[in-house]
């Protein structure tokens, strides 16, 4: 049985990576999917692929830094399929060159990341919620990040914007639950998206693997499946939550793997 039959979903940042995975999996589960992306050609290709596999999808341009553009994408989705029941606010930016520590972060970049990573979530919800109230149901999923829970040496704007997403999620859940609208977030750790694979040297990937509790990396579908669960009625009593999908990277004291290594080498010496 299809898990998202009769749902109409809008996915921002849906042309690649996590957004693409979610769009594909939602379509496979019977949802009609509107793929919104700044890269509108990529969105069109993604929609065509879904159509070719027998799913239902269309593409639309969105600039997540622009209020009017977000409104247009939401209205397009409703015009296209008659309603909107599911919104995946997934678009986000990071910048390793300008988003540094507190003393050195570029302030224009801080504003840009807050705008695209946090305010776009507010705006997507602001324009989608009236349509969801009309539909009598709604499930909103936001892409947060484990960077929203922990400190790091750099990327202070990114981390702060994602922490904002975690709490904004609770506000939306609290304010619109009575309209049968749920709002949850997913917090990925390192996920092997094409972007991550292109930008991270193998040594860095190995480092992440070492500190994962699980002996493997995450892939876009790990987030996609979580989004399908949250968008479907299977999670109809879950709201206000941020689901951590991170291989157990952040659950233990980071010295645990090093300590194990030390103990193992110590035992070997004794034997």
């Amino acid at each position: 049985m299809l898990r998202m039959k009769d749902k109409v979903a809008l996915v921002t940042g849906g042309a690649s990576g996590i957004g693409l995975s979610a769009a594909q999996l939602m379509a496979r589960e019977g949802a009609k999917v509107v793929i919104a992306d700044f890269n509108v050609n990529g969105a069109k290709e993604a929609a065509a692929d879904i159509q070719a596999q027998g799913g239902e999808a269309v593409a639309v341009f969105v600039d997540a830094g622009d209020e009017f553009s977000i409104k247009e994408a939401v209205e397009f989705a409703v015009q296209q399929y008659g309603k909107l029941t599911s919104l995946f606010n997934n678009v986000g930016l990071t910048n390793l060159k300008k988003d540094l520590d507190v003393v050195n972060v570029d302030l224009d970049e801080w504003d840009r990341l807050m705008n695209v990573n946090l305010k776009s979530v507010l705006l997507g919800c602001r324009f989608a919620i009236p349509h969801m109230i009309e539909a009598g149901e709604g499930s909103i999923i936001n892409t947060a990040s484990m960077a929203g829970f922990t400190g790091d040496a750099v990327r202070v704007a990114y981390g702060a914007s994602k922490a904002g997403v975690v709490n904004l999620t609770k506000y939306i859940a609290t304010q619109y639950g009575k309209h049968n609208i749920r709002c949850n977030a997913v917090a990925p750790g390192l996920i092997l998206t094409p972007a991550a694979q292109n930008n991270m040297p193998p040594d860095v990937l190995d480092m992440f693997a070492k500190y994962n509790a699980l002996p493997y990396h995450g892939e876009p579908n790990d987030i996609g499946y979580t989004v399908v669960f949250l968008a479907s009625d299977e999670s109809k009593f879950i709201t206000g939550q941020t689901i951590q999908v991170e291989g157990g990277h952040y659950i233990a004291n980071p010295t645990v793997p090093d300590f194990e290594e030390f103990m193992n080498s110590h035992n070997t010496t004794n034997n």
Partner: protein
């Protein structure tokens, strides 16, 4: 195609309430399900279902767990999933709780899941894959009745994180569910005051109580390969009650 095809799952407290719903859902999704329960009468009923095998288990018995894990592994060749769902509840006010009450509560709700993981995880580790789902409670997260029940569920929360760290390298995932108030025979028997329930519903963003299927669906998600990269995670299923 089912989401749990070819999986072998043990569900404790599987003969009634939330556990029974899980057993039915997991079997429907293609798993071989061992409904482990202390209630022998209910077990007979469970055993009549397709692909469901009722087995007697006292979760607070180390020996019972050791035998159950061994028998299941011998009979079905492996164990893929463990749902530590069995538990008892109590609304006894804290000033009336005595040492015996405390020990019984912690023995069933705390030691039970611990012993289950202790005896089942090695079989999962042998195949480098497994998923354990522990049922905690929203009372482990917020002050909602000061008693031994919430303490036992706090133990489940801490155990789940620790076990996720311990067993992760062996490919065994451990996650916890935190149900809010769910309509079951157990909660209906406890919450005699309809007025109190009404007030809780009013204070819940989604304006309703949870149903057994809500917990079963979340357990299914965490048990299945859809959640391969999720471990040590906490999934609260309370209609938003504790998010405000």
């Amino acid at each position: 195609m089912g989401r749990l095809d070819n999986k072998v799952a043990i569900i404790t407290g599987g003969a009634s309430g939330i556990g029974e719903g899980m057993v039915d859902l997991f079997a429907k999704e293609g798993a071989i399900v061992i409904a482990a329960d202390i209630n022998e009468e209910a077990l007979e009923k469970a055993s009549q279902k397709e692909n469901v095998y009722g087995m007697k288990l006292n979760v607070s018995s180390d020996e019972d767990w050791e035998i159950l894990a061994k028998v299941v592994n011998e009979r079905f060749g492996k164990i893929d999933i463990l749902v530590n769902n069995a538990g008892i509840s109590s609304e006894k006010p804290f000033e009336e709780i005595n040492a015996q009450d405390w020990q019984k509560m912690l023995s069933i709700n705390g030691f039970g899941p611990f012993a289950g993981m202790k005896h089942v995880a090695p079989y999962m580790a042998a195949q480098k894959k497994g998923s354990i789902v522990n049922i905690s409670s929203y009372t482990a997260l917020i002050g909602q009745g000061f008693n031994h029940y919430s303490a036992s569920k706090g133990a489940v929360r801490a155990l789940s994180k620790a076990a996720a760290t311990t067993f992760g390298r062996q490919g065994v995932r451990v996650n916890a569910l935190f149900p809010g108030i769910i309509e079951t025979p157990m909660t209906q028997a406890l919450n005699t005051s309809k007025e109190l329930l009404d007030r809780l519903v009013q204070a819940t963003p989604l304006q309703r109580l949870g149903q057994a299927i809500d917990i079963a669906n979340a357990a299914l998600f965490l048990a299945s390969d859809d959640s391969s990269y999720i471990t040590g995670s906490e999934l609260v299923i309370d209609g938003g009650y504790s998010a405000q």
